[in-house]
Every structure is written in C-alpha cells, then in structure tokens.
Symmetry: C2
Subunit: 223 residues, 2 copies
Amino acid sequence: MIKSLRIALVGGTGHQGPGLALRWALAGHEVFIGSRRAEKAERVAGELSEALRPIGVQYEFGHGVNPDVVAKADVIVFTIPFGGVRATCEGLRDQIRPGAVVVSPVVPMRKADFGLIADLPEEGSAAELIAALLPQAKVVGAFHTVSAGLLKDIPKPIEGDVVVCGDDEEAKRLVMGLVEDIPNLRPLDGGPLAYSRVLEALTPLLITMGKRLGNPNLGIKFI
Amino acid sequence: MIKSLRIALVGGTGHQGPGLALRWALAGHEVFIGSRRAEKAERVAGELSEALRPIGVQYEFGHGVNPDVVAKADVIVFTIPFGGVRATCEGLRDQIRPGAVVVSPVVPMRKADFGLIADLPEEGSAAELIAALLPQAKVVGAFHTVSAGLLKDIPKPIEGDVVVCGDDEEAKRLVMGLVEDIPNLRPLDGGPLAYSRVLEALTPLLITMGKRLGNPNLGIKFI
C-alpha cells in the first residue's frame, strides 16, 4: 500500500461489500459503507467494527447513503447486483467526480436451462456498461473471482489471483495495489477494460463447478 | 487409464495435435494423426515417433487423411482452427459413426481493436456448433487452457487444470480420463457443453496475459 485511500462501497451492505470493507480497513484505508438506506449502512458499519474487535482492531467505518459516501471517495466500488447498475449510475452521476476510480466486480448472470451463465450486456460487460454510463469515471474491473465468504474470513489470507482490467493505467495500478493489500491475493494485469467480459463470464462457472466440487469458495490461479 | 483407446487427431499435424498425440502415445493409447493431406500426416507421424525415441519409447503412430483416421476411432479430437470447423464437419459427417466421442479444444478468436478476444458463434461456442453440425456425435469440450508447447515437452508433467464439459456423462468421463493420462493435469467436471463458451473465452485472456507476464504457456488452476 502506498497511502491510505478513501474507499466507498456502494451497496456495501450486500454480498461482497462487507468482506472487502474488512480487508481494506485492516490495510489502513478509510472505508465508507454505502447503502440506499442510511440506517442500514449505519447498522452494517457497526457490525463490521464489531467483527474487527476480536482480532484486537479498533476501527470506525464511515457510512451513509450511496450518494454521500461516493462524494468523499478516491475509489468507489460497486458491490451491487447487475440489476441495480443502471439505476445506481443514474443516481450517482452528479456525485462521482471527474477522474474518480470506479471498481466493478459486478457479474451479470442468468439461469439458463442448462445452468447459471453470464448474461453480458450489449456493451460487452457490466464494467463497460458502467463506463458508458459514467464517462467521467475511470472504470476498472476486478474481484470477480474472489469468494465473498473468504473475504469476510479475517484475518486469514486468501490464496488466489485477481485479474484487473481497465483502460486507464494509473487507475488499474491503484486497484492492483488494493488487491495486494489483501494478504496473499495476487493482482494480474488483465489488459483493457473489455477483458472484463471474460472475468464476468468466469464467475458462473466458478459457482457451478464449486457446487459440484463441494467448494463454495472456488477461486482461480494462473500458473 | 481404463483401457487403450483409438484416438484420431483431426488436423493432428497442427498446433495442439502433436503434443496431445505424444502424451496419449505415452499413456498407451493407439493414436492416429489425421490431415487433409496423407503425406503430411505420414511425415508428422514419423517425426512424432522420432521424438519419442530419445526417451526410450518405440511407438508407431497411425496416420492418414482425416476421413480415414476418423472412421477407425473411439475418440476424435478436433485440433483445428475455428475457421476450419464447418468444412471439417461437412467433410467427416459420413465417417463419424453414431455415438463417437468428438473432443473440441477449438477456440474462436478475433483481433479486436483492444486485443485478442473470443469470437463465439451464434450457437454459443465452437463446441456447440460442432454438436449442431454432427448430431450423431457425443461432443465434449476440453483442453482449451493447456499450452501446446507444454504438451509437446515430454515427458515433463504439466501443472494445471482442464475443465471438461459435455452433455453426455459417459463421454465426459472418458475425456476426463484422457486428461488424467497426462501427468499432473487434473480434469474438472465443467458441466453441460454450453459451458464451453466460458473456456473458449478464457483462452485469449490467457494468451494476452501470458504475453504481458512473459509466460507463453500460462495455464489455470482452480483452488
């Protein structure tokens, strides 16, 4: 980690938000839990502070409604389901400052007759859709293949790789640094943002294969 | 390996064919090198026998034009570029017997402005297209993420996973056994054939990331 960043988790009360919040708090960043409802953000922020106490860490998470936490942040992470992407982008358009780094771990999925599969939007991927809706932001795709359960299991290291892709090199490097802040996770430069479609497509395979293998936290490593 | 299989490599003189041929010869299978030209098949079959001599193995590869080698095989592997899929299926339609196992490691790719990316057909994947063109065959997708270079580097083991997908369970198990025949490769059940689109999409990312990392043989492991 180079310096402490202000990180806002939009929809941070959901599936992947809490684990990322805990990890980045432990790495010394200033983490804000965002939600559509202020009370929910406050409640989850409190629970997360509680979760850090048993390992001897005193930490107060920031919290608030999504537009409020976003306005303060260097890095904004969209820990939301794909279904909420358009409305979230609309709702935050004026709060996201030019040059802000927006991280998309979003995976659009649908249940086909043969099983769970990616349902990529016309733009190519959820990350590219976000980039189209928020032209002022530097969008980076990352964290698609990291289990929310493992992220929450602090302070255990997580074995696995995180492919990071984006069209702005500086923003990509920043997010690769945020991957390195999580013990044992390795960031890999996945190239331009368009490669996010590959990572988004991979997640439903990880979920279905993980079920078959009895491993709900199946991850990936490049060797 | 349960028993010795007769394996025909359609386009076996190309990129991925020789490595697979060597590996399965070492595992005790009866391997046939197929090509559009009989002389080329014969030449490559001879070269592959030569390649086995330094490690003390005497082995004669079968060889012939694609329709001839296919007619004799239990398992047919399409080691061909995507551009050849339609013509190859047309040309072999009458030689491929009902119930034959056809393995597709085929990856449809195109060079987009941002880089190499999958160019999946309307059917969903190359494997599904092959299944549509050869309804009498049991099509299995596999070997998309294994480097041709590592396959040829006998007798070295290959670290990595091979996700195998297919709609016929018996055929899928057979191909998973063929993965296990290659030292250290681990087969993983990837579910129905439709998941081949995920694996086909993964290969261009492996190629471009491998270039960036200085590893032309980048592979994958699920953890």
